[in-house]
C-alpha cells in the first residue's frame, strides 16, 4: 500500500495497529512499523497526527532492537552451551548439527 496516498488519520491508525500488534511477540512487525513510518513521522512537514506517530515509531524501533539483541544473545548462548546442557538442550533443539559435539 502506498502510504503517501493515505489520509493522515489512516496512516496514524495503521501505525497504531502495527504498534499494538507487535506486542504479541512480533518484533518484526515493530521493525517494519519503524522503518515504514520513519519518513512519515520525522521527515515530513508536521501535521497533527505526527506527534503520536513519532511516539509509536520510536517505541517500535527501540522495541525491535531490544528483541534483536535478546534473540542474538540467546542464540549465542544456546549454540555455545548446547553440548554442555545435555538432555535439555536436545529437547530444545530443532536441528542438531552433525559432526559437532
Amino acid at each position: 500500500m502506498d502510504i503517501s496516498r493515505m489520509s493522515n488519520t489512516k496512516k496514524l491508525s495503521l501505525c497504531r495497529i502495527y504498534f499494538f500488534a507487535g506486542f504479541a511477540c512480533l518484533p518484526f512487525m515493530w521493525a517494519v512499523n519503524a522503518i515504514w513510518f520513519l519518513r512519515e513521522a520525522f521527515f515530513k512537514p508536521p501535521y497533527p497526527e505526527q506527534k503520536q506517530m513519532k511516539r509509536y515509531v520510536v517505541i517500535s524501533g527501540i522495541g525491535s532492537l531490544l528483541w534483536l539483541v535478546a534473540v542474538i544473545a540467546w542464540c549465542v548462548v544456546f549454540s555455545l552451551k548446547r553440548s554442555e546442557w545435555g538432555e535439555v538442550a536436545d529437547k530444545l533443539s530443532f536441528i542438531i548439527p552433525k559432526g559437532v559435539p
Binding site: 500500500m1 502506498d2 496516498r5 493515505m6 489512516k10 495503521l14 500488534a21 504479541a24 511477540c25 512480533l26 518484533p27 518484526f28 512487525m29 517494519v32 522503518i35 515504514w36 534473540v71 540467546w74 542464540c75 544456546f78 549454540s79 548446547r82 538442550a89 530444545l92 533443539s93 530443532f94 536441528i95 542438531i96 548439527p97 552433525k98 559432526g99 559437532v100
Partner: protein, 516 residues
C-alpha cells in the same frame, strides 16, 4: 467552459480532455477580447492566418464567427491528434518500463529457486511423490516412463480443470466468503508450515543448529507479517517480496514432488490448458474475466503480482483442502483495501474493457479425507493439496495492462488533472499471475537440478524472451492474455535443445580445444 470546447471534448479520448481544454482555452480567450469593444484590437494576436480584416471594435459577422470557429476546431483537432500520439508513445514507453518491472520479480523468484535447488539437496531427492501422480517412472524402459508421465500429467490436468470450474461456480454464485476463507487457509498453510519445512531443510543443508524457541519465533514473525502484508496492508516492497518467496516455495514443492518426465509433460500440458482457458470464448478464465467485468469488480486481485502500487490483497492460493488457487475478489473488498478500492473502482467503472487484472483460478474444495488417506511420509498430503492449488492458480495467468483503456474521466477539472494522471500511471501496471511465477521457476529450477549451468541460463533467457513477447502482445491486443504458453514453449525448446545438442557440442569442442 465554453460550449464549443466541451462538445469537441466529447469526441476525443477522455484522457486528453483536460489537456485539450487547456489548449483550447487559449484561442478561446481571444474571442471575448475581440468582441469587447473596449479592448484595442487584440484580434491580430488571435493566432493563425486570419483572412478577415482585424475586427477591431466591431462585432464579428456570422460568417466571420463561423470561420473562426472552424479554424479553432481545426487547431483543436490537430492538437488532439498530437496529444493522442504523445499518449500512445507514453503508453509504449510505459510498457517497456513495466516489462522491466516484471523481469525483476520473475528473475528473483527463479534465483531463489535455483539457489535452493543448488545448495540444498533435499529438493532434488527423489522418492516421495504426490498422490496424484501414481506412475513413478520406475521402470527401465523409456517408453513406459514417458507413458506414465503423460498419464500423470493428464490426471493433474483433469484435477486442475475440475478445480477451475468449481472456482467459477463459486464466483458466479457470489460465494465470496468461501473463496476468501479458502485463500486465507491456503496462505496460512503456505506461510507457516511450508516455511517451517523450508527452514528446516535449509538449516539441515548448511548444518546449522537451532533451537525450537528461536525457530518458532522466526516462523511466527515471518508468517504473521506475511499474512498482514498479503491480505491486508503492508509496505509494497515487502508484499512483493512475500509473494516472490511464496511462489518459489511452491515451485520447490513441485520440483521435489513430481517425477522426472512428468514435470516436463505437466508444464507443456498446463501451458496448452492456459492458452485454451484464456482465449477460447467458453474458456473458464474468460468467463471469469467477463463475469467480473459485468459486475464491475476488480478481477481477483489475489494471486496476482502487480508491478504498481495498486495491489489489493494478493494471496497465495494454498489451501489445505482443495488444491485450487483462488484469486480472491472478495478479498479486495476487505477492509484492507480502503485505499486501493476507491481508486480501482474508479478505474473499473468507466471502461473495464481494457486490460484487467488476471484472474487466477480458484481451487475446488477437495475432501479432507484425501488428506487423511494420504501417505504419512513427510505429511506431503496436505502439501500436495496446497501444491495443487497453486498449480491451479498458476494456470491462470493473465497478463493485463490494467486500467489502460479506462483513462480517468476527469470531469473538466484542470486542477484535479495532476493527481488523476498520477493515479492513472500508477494504475497502469502490468499484472502477472503468481502461477506464472511458479511455473517459470519450476522450469528453471528443474533445469538447474541437473547440475548444468548452460541449460539453466538458456532456460532463464528463454523465459524472459517469452515474457517480453507476451507483454508486447499484450500491448497490442490490450486484453488479458495467457502468459504461460509462449515462455514455457521457448523454455522447453531451449532446455531440450541445449541439453541434447549444445552441451555435448560444447563439450566436444572443449575437449578438442577448438574455440569458437
Amino acid at each position: 467552459m465554453d460550449g464549443h470546447v466541451s462538445i469537441e471534448d466529447h469526441s476525443v479520448e477522455d484522457g486528453s480532455r483536460t489537456r485539450n481544454s487547456g489548449a483550447a482555452k487559449e484561442p478561446r480567450a481571444t474571442n471575448p477580447s475581440d468582441n469587447d469593444p473596449s479592448t484595442p484590437m487584440a484580434a491580430e494576436g488571435a493566432g493563425g492566418p486570419t483572412p478577415q480584416p482585424p475586427p477591431g471594435r466591431r462585432p464579428l459577422t456570422e460568417e466571420e464567427r463561423a470561420a473562426r470557429l472552424e479554424q479553432r476546431r481545426q487547431r483543436d483537432r490537430e492538437h488532439m491528434e498530437r496529444q493522442l500520439e504523445e499518449e500512445e508513445e507514453l503508453v509504449l514507453k510505459y510498457g517497456a518500463q513495466h516489462v522491466i518491472k516484471l523481469f525483476i520479480p520473475v528473475s528473483l523468484c527463479m534465483l531463489v529457486v535455483v539457489a535452493t535447488v543448488a545448495s540444498v539437496t533435499f529438493y532434488s531427492e527423489k522418492g516421495i511423490y504426490l498422490l496424484y501422480t501414481p506412475f513413478h517412472e520406475t521402470s527401465d524402459s523409456v517408453a513406459k516412463n514417458v507413458m506414465g508421465a503423460f498419464v500423470n500429467a493428464f490426471i493433474i490436468l483433469a484435477l486442475v480443470v475440475v478445480l477451475t470450474f468449481f472456482l467459477i461456480l463459486l464466483y458466479k454464485f457470489r460465494c465470496y466468503k468461501i473463496i476468501h476463507g479458502w485463500l486465507i487457509i491456503s496462505s496460512l498453510l503456505l506461510l507457516f508450515f511450508f516455511t517451517l519445512l523450508y527452514l528446516m531443510e535449509l538449516l539441515r543443508g548448511y548444518n546449522i543448529g537451532l533451537d525450537w524457541i528461536t525457530v518458532s519465533l522466526i516462523v511466527w514473525n515471518f508468517g504473521v507479517m506475511g499474512m498482514v502484508c498479503i491480505h491486508w496492508q503492508g509496505p509494497l516492497r515487502l508484499q512483493q517480496a512475500y509473494l516472490i518467496f511464496v511462489a518459489s516455495l511452491m515451485s520447490l514443492m513441485f520440483i521435489k514432488y513430481l517425477p522426472e518426465y512428468t514435470v516436463w509433460v505437466v508444464l507443456a500440458v498446463i501451458s496448452v490448458w492456459d492458452l485454451v482457458a484464456v482465449l477460447c470464448p467458453k474458456g473458464p478464465l474468460r468467463i471469469l474475466v467477463e463475469t467480473a467485468q459485468e459486475r464491475n469488480e476488480p478481477i481477483f486481485p489475489a494471486l496476482i503480482y502487480s508491478s504498481n502500487i495498486l495491489y489489493s490483497s494478493l494471496t497465495m492460493a494454498e489451501s489445505s483442502t482443495p488444491s485450487t488457487s483462488t484469486t480472491d475478489n472478495g478479498g479486495s473488498h476487505d477492509g484492507g483495501e480502503a485505499v486501493a478500492d476507491p481508486l480501482q473502482q474508479d478505474h473499473h467503472a468507466p471502461a473495464p474493457a481494457g486490460g484487467v487484472g488476471r484472474p487466477t483460478i480458484s481451487t475446488a474444495p477437495s475432501s479432507s479425507r484425501r488428506r487423511r488417506s494420504s501417505e504419512a511420509e513427510a505429511g506431503f498430503g496436505p502439501e500436495w493439496e496446497a501444491g495443487r492449488q497453486q498449480r491451479e492458480a498458476a494456470r491462470q495467468r493473465r497478463v493485463a495492462e490494467h486500467g489502460e483503456a479506462s483513462a480517468p474521466d476527469v470531469a473538466g477539472g484542470g486542477g484535479a488533472q495532476q493527481p488523476q494522471e498520477e493515479e492513472d500511471e500508477e494504475e497502469r501496471g502490468v499484472k502477472l499471475g503468481l502461477g506464472d511465477f511458479i511455473f517459470y521457476s519450476v522450469l528453471v529450477g528443474k533445469a538447474s537440478s541437473y547440475g548444468d549451468w548452460n541449460t539453466t541460463i538458456a532456460c532463464f533467457i528463454a523465459i524472459l524472451i517469452g515474457l517480453c513477447l507476451t507483454l508486447i502482445m499484450l500491448a497490442i491486443f490490450k486484453k488479458a492474455l495467457p502468459a504461460l504458453p509462449i515462455s514455457i514453449t521457448f523454455g522447453l525448446i531451449f532446455y531440450f535443445a541445449t541439453s541434447y545438442f549444445v552441451v555435448p557440442f560444447a563439450e566436444n569442442l572443449a575437449s578438442e580445444q577448438v574455440f569458437i
